[in-house]
C-alpha cells in the first residue's frame, strides 16, 4: 500500500456496507417486491420459432375475457422509421430496440415477444395468452456465426448491407459491419519472428446469469404521467428508452430504482418496461410484469458466441514482432455485438509494433447480444492469451516473463490509436510473479496457467448531490444503481472530504425526478465518475461551511480553515474563536443563508484503464474430463481501492463468472433453433462448492484523472480467466483446448483423441 494512503481517514477502510443489513434481513426491495393497489398482472406471448414471418395475430378471444384489461402487439408501438432510429444523448438504435421489444413483421429468435396482456390474475393472463392466435410462416434459421456469414445463409434483415467495406454491397447480408484496426507493417513483423503460432478458437454465447430476473411495476395516470419501479442498471436509461420507444416526453416518466440483484451489463437496456407502460396506459391500472428464468434465458441478451483466428510471432528473446486477430461475433437478432471492443482490447496489454485486428458483427437467430462485463474483451483475450501461452511454450520461456518483456506502459501506442497514459499492467505482472502461488508445487494431472486482460473503463454523464441536514449529518444522492458497492464508496469519499465520521453520512440512489441525468451503471464507471461528482460536491459544501463560519465570526472567509470536520480561524491574526463543528454550523444555517448543499453534474471524462493478471491451478480428472479449480489468484490495478472489500468482491465475482464461461456455460440449441437449457439446472453456472477462495490482490497505480486515483474495477476481472484456465489445462494434460466451454465431454474427447 502506498504511503500516502495512510494519510486518509476513510479512503481504503473496510467500512460497514450501507445496504448490508437490509439485504441480509430480506428487507431490501428488489424489482419484484413492488406492488400497487388495483394492480394487474402483465404477461408476454413469445415466439416458439427461431425465424418466422408473422402472417396474422388475432387477439379477439383474449380481449373478450372479462379478466383481461389490455392486450398489446407491435401495432401499439410507434413504428420508428430509419431516419429517427437515433435521437437524444448516447442513444440506442430505437428502431431496432422497438423491433426487439415486440416483433413487427418477423420473429427473429425463439422468445421474441409478439403480444402481451394485462389481466386480473396470473392464471387469467396465462389463459389469455393461450387464446391469442398467431399464424407464422416458418423460415430457415441460422445461429452459428460462420454459417450466418455464408452467401446462401438465411437473411434476417432484408435492409441490412454490410458496413465498413468499400463499395457497400448491393445484396443484403447478416454481416452488419466489418471493423479494422491496425498499426505498423504486419507482414514485415511476421518475417522478423523466430516463432509464429496461429490457432482458431470458438466461444459460445453465455448469459450474465444475474440471480434476479427482470421485474417492473408501471402506472400511467389519465393525464399521461407515468411512474415506473424497476430493477435495472439505470433508472435514467429506462426513462430515456421508454420515452424514445413510445414517443413520450421524458419529463412525463418518473423511474424509481429498485435494489438490483445482479446485472453485469444485462440490465443496461429495457426488457419489460415499455410493455408495462403500454398495458397500464391502455388499462388505466398499474401493471406488474416479471420474467421467469426461462424468459430471461430465451428473451434477454447473452453475450456473443464467436469464431476467432489469432496469430502471434515473436523473436527468440520473447519480443513480439507481429500479431493479428480476426473475430466474428454473434450480434443476435440485431446489430451491435462488441466485436470492435474485442479488437481494441485484445493486444492492448502489450507493446506490439505491428498488429492488426479485424472484427465482424454478425446477426443470427438468437436474442440480441447485450453487454456483459468488459463487452468483447474476454472473448478476444481467450484467443490472444491462449496463443501467447503457446508462444511462451515454444520459446521455453516463463509465460509471465514473456508478458513482462512485452508489457504495455505509459506512452505505448494502442492498436486503436492513442498512446496509453499512466497504467499499472507491469505492476500486476510483478505482483503475480512475487505471489507465493506462482511458486507453489503442483501434483499429477495438475497444471498452472496465467493470462492478462485490459479494459478501457468509461466515464459519462453523471450528477450527484451532497446535502447537510439541519443536525449536521450528511446526505449523498447519486443517480446510478448500486451494483457493486457504490453507496459505500461514495459515503467514504464524502466523509473524507468533509472530514466527518462515516456514520454521519448516508447515501441513496435517487429517482429520475430528483437529480440530473445519469448514464447507467456500467463500464466500471460509477465509483470513478459518481465519486468524482460527490467529491466535487463535498468540496463545494466545505467552501460553503467555511463561508458560514466566516459569517458567524464576522471575519473574512480566507481566514477560515476546514479540517477534520471543524472550522477554525486560520491563525491568531484571524481572531480567537472556538472551533465550529459541522453540526454547529448546520444548526445556524437558517440565519447564515439557508440550507447547505451542492449539486454537481458533468460528462465525466478520462477514466483510467484497468489491467489484470491472473494465476490459476487446475486438476483434470482423466476419467471424467472434469476440471477442478484448485487455486486462483487475481491481481488487478484498482488505481485506489476506496473500499477494498468491494474491490475484492468485484474481482472475485468477475473471476467466478469467467470460470463458468470457461468450463460449463453455453447456450445449447436444437435443430429448430430452440434453446434446450433455459434454466440453471441445465445451464451450469459455478456454485460455491465448485470454487476455491479467490485470492484477490489489489495493486494501486493511481489514476491521475481522479481526485483519489480511482480506476473502475468491475469489468477487467472477467477478461483473463478463460485463457488462464485453458493454459492451465494444457499445462496439466498437454492438450490445447480451443473451444469454450471446456466441459467434461470435450476434455474427454480430447484425451481420447490424444490417446
Amino acid at each position: 500500500m502506498p504511503d500516502d494512503v495512510k494519510e486518509y481517514r476513510w479512503i481504503g477502510k473496510r467500512t460497514i456496507r450501507p445496504d448490508g443489513v437490509d439485504k441480509v434481513t430480506g428487507r431490501a426491495a428488489f424489482g419484484a417486491d413492488y406492488a400497487m393497489p388495483d394492480m394487474l398482472v402483465g404477461q408476454m406471448l413469445r415466439s416458439p420459432h427461431a425465424h418466422a414471418r408473422i402472417l396474422s395475430i388475432d387477439t379477439s378471444k383474449a380481449e373478450a375475457m372479462p379478466e383481461v384489461k389490455a392486450v398489446i402487439t407491435a401495432a401499439d408501438f410507434p413504428d420508428i422509421p430509419p431516419s429517427e432510429a437515433t435521437k437524444g444523448t448516447a442513444p440506442p438504435n430505437f428502431r431496432h430496440l422497438s423491433q426487439n421489444m415486440m416483433a413487427r413483421d418477423k420473429v427473429l429468435y425463439e422468445g421474441h415477444a409478439v403480444a402481451a396482456v394485462a389481466a386480473t390474475s396470473p392464471a387469467a393472463a396465462k389463459k389469455a395468452l393461450s387464446l391469442i392466435a398467431v399464424k407464422y410462416e416458418v423460415l430457415p434459421h441460422v445461429i452459428d456465426v460462420e454459417e450466418a456469414m455464408k452467401p446462401d445463409a438465411p437473411v434476417l434483415h432484408e435492409d441490412m448491407f454490410t458496413g465498413g467495406v468499400e463499395p457497400t454491397p448491393k445484396k443484403p447480408s447478416n454481416v452488419a459491419k466489418r471493423l479494422e484496426f491496425s498499426i505498423g507493417d504486419l507482414e514485415a513483423g511476421f518475417k522478423e519472428a523466430d516463432i509464429v503460432i496461429e490457432k482458431r478458437y470458438t466461444t459460445k454465447p453465455v448469459h450474465q446469469g444475474y440471480i434476479e430476473p427482470h421485474a417492473v411495476v408501471a402506472e400511467v395516470s389519465e393525464d399521461g404521467q407515468a411512474k415506473i419501479w424497476a430493477s435495472s442498471q439505470g433508472q435514467f436509461m429506462i426513462r430515456q428508452y421508454c420515452a424514445g420507444l413510445l414517443n413520450m416526453n421524458v419529463a412525463d416518466i418518473r423511474v424509481t430504482p429498485a435494489e438490483i440483484g445482479g446485472g453485469f451489463g444485462g440490465k443496461t437496456t429495457v426488457w419489460l418496461e415499455p410493455h408495462a407502460l403500454l398495458l397500464s396506459r391502455k388499462s388505466g391500472r398499474p401493471v406488474k410484469m416479471t420474467m421467469s428464468r426461462a424468459d430471461v434465458f430465451r428473451a434477454t441478451g447473452p453475450t456473443s458466441g464467436s469464431a476467432m483466428t489469432c496469430k502471434i510471432g515473436a523473436r527468440k528473446d520473447g519480443r513480439i514482432t507481429a500479431a493479428s486477430l480476426e473475430v466474428k461475433f454473434q450480434a443476435g437478432a440485431f446489430p451491435g455485438s462488441p466485436a470492435g471492443q474485442g479488437c481494441m482490447c485484445a493486444f492492448t496489454p502489450y507493446e506490439i509494433e505491428n498488429a492488426k485486428a479485424v472484427g465482424y458483427d454478425v446477426v443470427v437467430n438468437r436474442p440480441k447480444a447485450t453487454a456483459y462485463r468488459a463487452p468483447g474483451a474476454p472473448i478476444a483475450a481467450f484467443a490472444v492469451e491462449s496463443t501467447l501461452d503457446q508462444v511462451a511454450r515454444g520459446l521455453d520461456m516463463d509465460p509471465l516473463e514473456l508478458r513482462a518483456r512485452n508489457a504495455a506502459r505509459e506512452g505505448v501506442r494502442t492498436i486503436y490509436g492513442p498512446m496509453l497514459g499512466v497504467v499499472g499492467y507491469e505492476e500486476t505482472l510483478e505482483a503475480a510473479r512475487a505471489h507465493p502461488h506462482y511458486a507453489a508445487p503442483l501434483g499429477p494431472n495438475q497444471g498452472r496457467g496465467v493470462a492478462s486482460g485490459y479494459w478501457f473503463n468509461v466515464g459519462g454523464e453523471t450528477s450527484a448531490s451532497v446535502s447537510v441536514t439541519e443536525d449536521g449529518t450528511v446526505m449523498v444522492m447519486s443517480g446510478t444503481p448500486d451494483v457493486g458497492g457504490s453507496r459505500a464508496s461514495l459515503v467514504i469519499m464524502a466523509a473524507e472530504v468533509l472530514g466527518v465520521d462515516i456514520n454521519s453520512v448516508r447515501a441513496i440512489i435517487a429517482d429520475t425526478s430528483s437529480l440530473g441525468f445519469n448514464r447507467h451503471t456500467g463500464g466500471s464507471r460509477v465509483t470513478f465518475a459518481a465519486g468524482m461528482m460527490v467529491t466535487e460536491a463535498a468540496k463545494d459544501v466545505v467552501e460553503q461551511l467555511r463561508g458560514r463560519a466566516a459569517q458567524i465570526w464576522d471575519i473574512d472567509v480566507d481566514a477560515v480553515t476546514w479540517a477534520d470536520g471543524v472550522a477554525r480561524p486560520a491563525g491568531d491574526n484571524a481572531g480567537k474563536f472556538e472551533p465550529l463543528t459541522l453540526a454547529e454550523i448546520a444548526g445556524k444555517s437558517i440565519s447564515t443563508g439557508g440550507p447547505i448543499n451542492a449539486r454537481k453534474s458533468l460528462n465525466v471524462q478520462a477514466p483510467g484503464p484497468a489491467y489484470a493478471t491472473h494465476i490459476v491451478d487446475v486438476e483434470v480428472d482423466r476419467d471424467t474430463g472434469h476440471v477442478q479449480i484448485l487455486r486462483y489468484t487475481a491481481v488487478q490495478d484498482a488505481g485506489r481501492a476506496i473500499h477494498p472489500s468491494y474491490v475484492e468482491g468485484q474481482i472475485q465475482g468477475g473471476v467466478v463468472q469467467g470460470i463458468g464461461w470457461a468450463l460449463n456455460e453455453e447456450y445449447i440449441y436444437d435443430k429448430d433453433g430452440r434453446l434446450e437449457n433455459p434454466g440453471f439446472l441445465d445451464y451450469r453456472i459455478p456454485v460455491a462448492s465448485d470454487l476455491p477462495m479467490i485470492d484477490a490482490v489489489v495493486v494501486e497505480v493511481p489514476n491521475p484523472s481522479h481526485p483519489f486515483g480511482v480506476r473502475g474495477v468491475g469489468e477487467v476481472p472477467i477478461v483473463p480467466p478463460m485463457a488462464a484456465i485453458a493454459n492451465a489445462i494444457e499445462d496439466a494434460i498437454s492438450i490445447r483446448m480451443t473451444d469454450l466451454p471446456m466441459s467434461p465431454p470435450k476434455i474427454l474427447a480430447a484425451l481420447d483423441e490424444k490417446a
Binding site: G340, Y372, P375, G522
Partner: protein, 82 residues
Amino acid sequence: MVQVLLSREIARKFTAGEVRIEIDGENVRGLIRALDERFPGLGEILRTDMAVAIDGQIFQDASLEPIPPGSEVCFLPAIEGG
C-alpha cells in the same frame, strides 16, 4: 496546430490514405469542422458514434473539450461497458 491520427480504414476512404493530419482546432467541434472542410464527408463519420483521445485521454461526447496546441488527437469508436 494539432496532430490528428486517423485509422487506416477512415484514411483510405477520406484522406487518400494519409493517417496523420496536421490541422488547427481549438476544441473537438472546431477540429472536426476543420477536418470536414479539408476532407468533405469526414466530419459526419467523426461525429457519429466516435470517441476522441487527446494526448491519450479518452473523451466521449465531448465536442467542446479544448485541445491544447501540439496535442495528438485520435478518433476511435465509442466505448460501451457492461
